[in-house]
C-alpha cells in the first residue's frame, strides 16, 4: 500500500472514530502539477486526499484559523518536517495545544515520498535534522551573492524587488506564524507601517515582517511561493534564521518547549557591536 | 477634482454626551457654500475630514432649511473622530459632499410624521425633524420618540427641551432601564416598547426611524403591530465608506451602494436587501 492510500485510510479512520473533527490535507489542483488544500470532515471525503511530491504547501497555517480549535476538538493535518517545525513554534508561542493536533507526517525527497513515524508533536524530534539541514543551493548562492555586495548594491537589489510589492499581504496570510488578529500594518492609531505600496512603504512592511519572523520562521517558503510579484522573501528569512543560529545558537521549531528567541535572553549574549 | 474636499472653519463645538460632540462648520470659500446650498437635501451625508488623519462618514445633522452652516454630530471612536473631537473654534477641517439620496419630505406634506431615534442616531433624524418643523404648516401631527441608553447619552438636550415645550410637537423621551437618574420624569424602557405604549396612529402617517441595527429590528416589529406598512417607514443605513461616490466598493449591501443609492431607504427596500450583508 502506498503512502497515499495508507494516509487516506488513516484519515478516514480518524474521522469515523470521531477522534478528529477535521483532516486538513491535499486534493487535486486545477492543473496536473497543482495540489490544493482539502478539508475532509467525513471518511468519504478523506478518499479524495492526494499525497505526492507536489504537496509542498505548509498546511499548518490553517491550524491558527480563528475559532478552528476553540471547541477543544482535534484536527489532523498533513505536514512535512517544515510544517511540523511550524507546529512546534506555534506551541511554544502558546497558539496551539499539542494534544489538539494529530500529525500525518511525510517527507519529500525529490520525487520520493515517505511517511514519518509518529502522530503527536512529541513523537517528532527534529533538532538534528533542522540543524543539519542546509537550504537549497540556489538560496545559499543568492544569499551569498547579496552578502558580497556593498551596502549600496544591496539596497538597490532590494529596492528593485520591494518596488514591485503590491501589499496584497499574501506572504502574511499564508504564513503560519502570522497569526496576529490585527497585524501591525492594520493598526492605525498610530499608523506605524504605511499602507501605501510605494517603495518606501514596501521597505517598511517587508522589513517589519522579516523582523517579526526572526527566530520564528520555519523556512517552509510559503511566503516566497505565494508572492505574486516574485519578491525573493526566502533570502531575507534565511538570513534572519542564520543570524539567530550564529548569534544565539537558536534554531526555531526544534521542539515545542523552547522559549521564543526574542522573548528570552542569556546574560552573555554577544554584544560586539555595542559601544 | 473628485476627491478634493471643501475646507471648513469650525464655528463651535458642543459636547452632547460622553464621547459625543457636535461641530458647527462654515464654508471658507463662497463657491463651495454655493454648491452646498444648491445640492443639499435632508438625509444626505458627507465625509468629514482632517488632513493628516483622514475622512470619516456621517450625516449632515443640520436641516435643509438652514444651509448657512453644516452641523455634524459624531461619537469619538476611531482615528479621525478622535482628532475631530479635539478641534477648537477657528480650526480648519474638511467636508466632502453632500452625497447620497435624501428623505423625500415633499411627499410627506399633508401627513402626520412620526420620528423614532435611538442614541447617536438622532442627528440624521434631527435633520429631517427641523426641515419639517421649519415648514410646520405643511405637515400635520408631529411625534418624536427618542431613547438612549442613559440620560447622559441623550443628545441635543436643548432641542429636546425646546420640542417638549412646543405644543405642536409630541415628544416621547425614554431611557433604557437602569439608565434613568433620580429626577428623570420621562419614560423608562426600550424604544419599541415605549413606542407601542405611545401608540401613534398609522393613519396617513410617515415614520422616520434611525438607530442601531438591533433597535431598528425590534422597532420595525412594533411599527408593524401598530399598523404601519414597510413602505411608509423610512430609515437610513450606514456602512464603512471611503469615497462616498460609488467607486471604492465597500459600502454595498447586496447590489445596493449605500453611498449612491442610499443612505435613505424605506423599510421595504431594506427588507429586500440580503440581510446577511447588513
Amino acid at each position: 500500500m502506498g503512502i497515499q492510500e495508507q494516509y487516506r485510510s488513516e484519515a478516514a479512520a480518524l474521522l469515523s472514530s470521531g477522534e478528529v473533527k477535521l483532516v486538513i490535507g491535499f486534493g487535486e489542483g486545477s492543473t496536473a502539477d497543482r495540489r490544493r488544500p482539502l478539508f475532509a470532515r467525513t471518511p468519504e471525503e478523506a478518499q479524495k486526499f492526494v499525497l505526492d511530491a507536489a504537496c509542498i504547501a505548509n498546511l499548518s497555517t490553517y491550524l491558527v484559523t480563528e475559532g478552528l480549535l476553540s471547541d477543544g476538538k482535534k484536527v489532523a493535518v498533513f505536514l512535512k518536517p517544515d510544517g511540523i517545525r511550524s507546529v512546534n513554534i506555534l506551541i511554544s508561542e502558546a497558539q496551539l495545544k499539542p494534544d489538539q493536533v494529530v500529525i500525518l507526517g511525510y517527507a519529500i525527497d525529490k520525487a520520493e515520498i515517505t511517511a514519518l513515524e509518529g502522530r503527536n508533536i512529541s513523537d517528532f524530534s527534529l533538532g538534528e535534522e533542522i540543524r543539519s539541514h542546509t537550504p537549497p543551493p540556489h538560496i545559499l548562492q543568492e544569499a551569498e551573492r547579496i552578502e558580497e555586495m556593498n551596502p549600496a548594491e544591496r539596497f538597490e537589489f532590494w529596492k528593485a524587488h520591494f518596488s514591485k510589492c503590491i501589499k496584497c499581504y499574501a506572504c502574511r496570510q499564508v504564513c503560519p506564524m502570522c497569526y496576529c488578529r490585527r497585524c501591525i500594518v492594520d493598526v492605525n492609531q498610530p499608523q506605524w507601517v504605511s499602507t501605501s505600496s510605494h517603495t518606501l512603504g514596501n521597505f517598511e512592511w517587508n522589513i517589519v515582517r522579516a523582523f517579526h519572523l526572526a527566530g520564528r520562521c520555519a523556512a517552509c517558503g510559503a511566503c516566497d511561493r505565494a508572492c505574486p510579484v516574485n519578491i525573493p522573501l526566502r533570502l531575507v528569512n534565511y538570513r534572519m534564521g542564520k543570524e539567530v543560529i550564529d548569534a544565539f545558537d537558536y534554531c526555531a521549531g526544534e521542539n515545542s518547549s523552547q522559549k521564543p528567541v526574542l522573548a528570552s535572553f542569556k546574560q552573555d549574549d554577544p554584544e560586539t557591536f555595542i559601544l | 477634482m473628485i476627491y478634493s474636499p471643501f475646507p471648513m472653519r469650525v464655528v463651535s463645538k458642543r459636547a452632547e454626551a460622553p464621547g459625543v460632540n457636535t461641530l458647527k462648520l462654515e464654508f471658507v470659500k463662497e463657491e463651495d457654500h454655493e454648491f452646498f446650498k444648491q445640492n443639499y437635501k435632508t438625509g444626505m451625508f458627507g465625509l468629514y475630514g482632517i488632513f493628516g488623519e483622514g475622512e470619516s462618514t456621517f450625516c449632515v445633522a443640520s436641516p435643509e432649511t438652514r444651509k448657512d452652516y453644516i452641523e455634524c454630530t459624531f461619537r469619538q471612536s476611531g482615528r479621525v473622530t478622535s482628532t475631530l473631537a479635539n478641534v477648537d473654534a477657528g480650526d480648519i477641517v474638511t467636508f466632502r459632499g453632500p452625497y447620497g439620496n435624501r428623505f423625500p419630505i415633499e411627499q410627506f406634506e399633508g401627513k402626520n410624521l412620526l420620528f423614532i431615534a435611538g442614541g447617536i442616531a438622532l442627528p440624521p433624524t434631527r435633520s429631517v425633524i427641523w426641515s419639517c418643523l421649519d415648514q410646520r404648516e405643511k405637515y400635520k401631527d408631529v411625534t418624536i420618540v427618542y431613547g438612549a441608553r442613559t440620560v447622559a447619552d441623550l443628545v441635543y438636550k436643548d432641542e429636546l427641551d425646546e420640542w417638549k415645550k412646543r405644543d405642536d410637537v409630541r415628544l416621547v423621551l425614554t431611557v433604557d432601564p437602569g439608565g434613568e437618574t433620580p429626577d428623570w420624569q420621562d419614560h423608562v424602557g426600550f424604544v419599541p416598547t415605549v413606542l407601542e405604549q405611545a401608540a401613534p396612529s398609522p393613519e396617513n402617517t410617515i415614520a422616520v426611524l434611525c438607530g442601531p441595527p438591533i433597535m431598528i429590528k425590534f422597532t420595525l416589529v412594533a411599527l408593524q403591530k401598530l399598523g404601519f406598512t414597510a413602505e411608509n417607514v423610512y430609515t437610513t443605513l450606514e456602512n464603512r465608506m471611503k469615497c462616498g461616490v460609488g467607486k471604492c466598493g465597500r459600502c454595498n449591501v447586496g447590489s445596493v451602494y449605500i453611498c449612491k443609492e442610499g443612505p435613505v431607504f424605506t423599510a421595504a427596500e431594506v427588507q429586500a436587501m440580503p440581510q446577511a450583508d447588513l
Partner: protein, 337 residues
C-alpha cells in the same frame, strides 16, 4: 489586402510614436516579474508571454496614487490637489482580456461622479492589442463570453502573422485610426495569412452561473462556505485582477505635512468593511468571497450591463491556495439544478 506591421519595423514605430509625443509601454520582464513598462526599443519588450503577471490596470488605476498634498501649519492648513501626469501613452501588445478590463471599469469610474484620475489617463492612452496565439490552462475569456480576438477596449488590434514576421493591423476606434496615421510609411499592404487563434474551451456555463447567483435563496447557501474554506484572505487575486477597482483613501505623513493617497484595497481583507464600532457586515472569508463573485457576476451586471471579469485567469494562476473564479463558477455550473 490588409495592412501589416513588420516586427523589424517596430523600432521605427516606437520612434515615430515617441516623435508624435507618446510614451510607449509594452510587456516587459524586470526583476523576476512581468508587467507593462515603458520601452525605448523592440528588444525591451517581452513578446513570449501569454500574459504579463501584472495587468495594464496598474497604469490607469495605480496601486498608490497621491490625491492631495497638505501642510499643517500653526495658523492654517494648505492643501494642493495632485493630478496624474498629463502624458500621451501607447500601450503596445496588450492582450484582449486586459484591454476589456479597462472598458469594463469605465462605467464604474464614470458613474455620476467622474473619477478624473482614471479618465485623464484613459483619454490620453491608445491601446494596441495583440490577438492571442497561445492560451494556458488558466485562460478563460471564452467562458465569460469574450474571446482571444475580442476588440473590446482596443483602439488598434494586431493579428500575428503565421510566419511570425509581424502583425496584421486594424484600427478599431478613432483614436486607433489617428495613431496609425503617425506611422503610415511603416505599414505595408500585404495578404500574409495570420496565425490561428487558440481554442479556449468554455469552462463553465455562464448563463447558468448568473441565474444561480441571481436567485435569492442561494445567497446564504452552504456552497459559499465550502468553496472558500481554504481561502487565506490575501488580496493577490484582487490586486492582479484587470477589473477589480476597490480602493482605500489614506492620509500618510507626519505632524506637519503629508499626502492623502488612494490605495488599492481588497474585498478579501477583513478590515475592508469593518465599522469603527467593531461590527463587520462581511466578517468571514466566505462572505467576502461571495461578495467578490456576486459583485463580478451579478451586482456589476445589474448596474452597468457587463460582468466585471474579462477572463484573464490571473486569480487562479497566482493564487497561493489554487482558488479562483474559474473553480467557483465551475462548481456553480456543475450544481444539480
Amino acid at each position: 489586402m490588409t495592412r501589416i506591421l513588420l516586427r523589424n519595423k517596430l523600432d521605427d514605430c516606437i520612434a515615430a510614436w515617441q516623435k508624435a509625443g507618446f510614451s510607449v509601454f509594452a510587456p516587459v520582464r524586470q526583476h523576476e516579474m512581468s508587467s507593462f513598462g515603458e520601452v525605448q526599443k523592440a528588444s525591451d519588450m517581452a513578446f513570449d508571454l501569454v500574459l504579463p503577471e501584472r495587468t495594464i490596470k496598474d497604469h490607469f488605476f495605480p496601486q498608490t496614487e497621491p490625491l492631495i498634498k497638505y501642510k499643517i501649519g500653526k495658523q492654517q492648513i494648505d492643501s494642493e490637489t495632485m493630478t496624474p501626469p498629463d502624458r500621451k501613452r501607447v500601450f503596445f501588445g496588450v492582450r484582449p482580456c486586459d484591454a476589456s478590463g479597462l472598458a469594463i471599469d469605465d462605467p464604474l469610474f464614470g458613474w455620476d461622479y467622474k473619477d478624473d484620475y482614471w479618465f485623464r489617463r484613459r483619454d490620453n492612452s491608445v491601446i494596441v492589442t495583440i490577438v492571442c496565439t497561445e492560451a494556458d490552462d488558466f485562460c478563460m475569456c471564452t467562458s465569460v463570453k469574450l474571446s482571444p480576438e475580442s476588440d473590446k477596449g482596443a483602439d488598434v488590434m494586431l493579428r500575428p502573422l503565421a510566419n511570425g514576421a509581424g502583425w496584421q493591423v486594424e484600427a478599431v476606434s478613432e483614436r486607433g485610426t489617428a495613431l496609425l496615421e503617425t506611422i503610415p510609411s511603416l505599414l505595408q499592404e500585404n495578404s500574409e495569412p495570420t496565425a490561428p487563434v487558440p481554442q479556449v474551451a468554455e469552462k463553465f456555463d455562464l448563463e447558468k452561473v448568473m441565474e444561480w447567483l441571481a436567485s435569492k435563496e442561494n445567497f446564504e447557501s452552504q456552497f459559499w462556505k465550502d468553496i472558500s474554506l481554504r481561502c487565506v484572505g490575501c488580496g493577490s487575486c484582487t490586486f492582479l485582477c484587470p477589473t477589480c477597482h476597490c480602493f482605500d483613501i489614506q492620509d500618510e505623513g507626519d505632524t506637519y505635512a503629508g499626502i492623502r493617497r488612494k490605495n488599492w484595497d481588497s474585498c478579501s481583507f477583513s478590515l475592508f468593511t469593518m465599522h469603527t464600532s467593531g461590527h463587520n457586515p462581511r466578517n468571514t472569508q466566505s462572505t467576502r468571497w461571495r461578495q467578490r463573485i456576486m459583485h463580478k457576476f451579478n451586482y456589476y451586471r445589474g448596474k452597468f450591463g457587463v460582468n466585471s471579469c474579462s477572463g484573464c485567469g490571473r486569480c487562479t494562476r497566482q493564487c497561493p491556495v489554487d482558488m479562483g473564479i474559474t473553480e467557483t463558477l465551475q462548481a456553480i455550473s456543475n450544481l444539480p439544478r
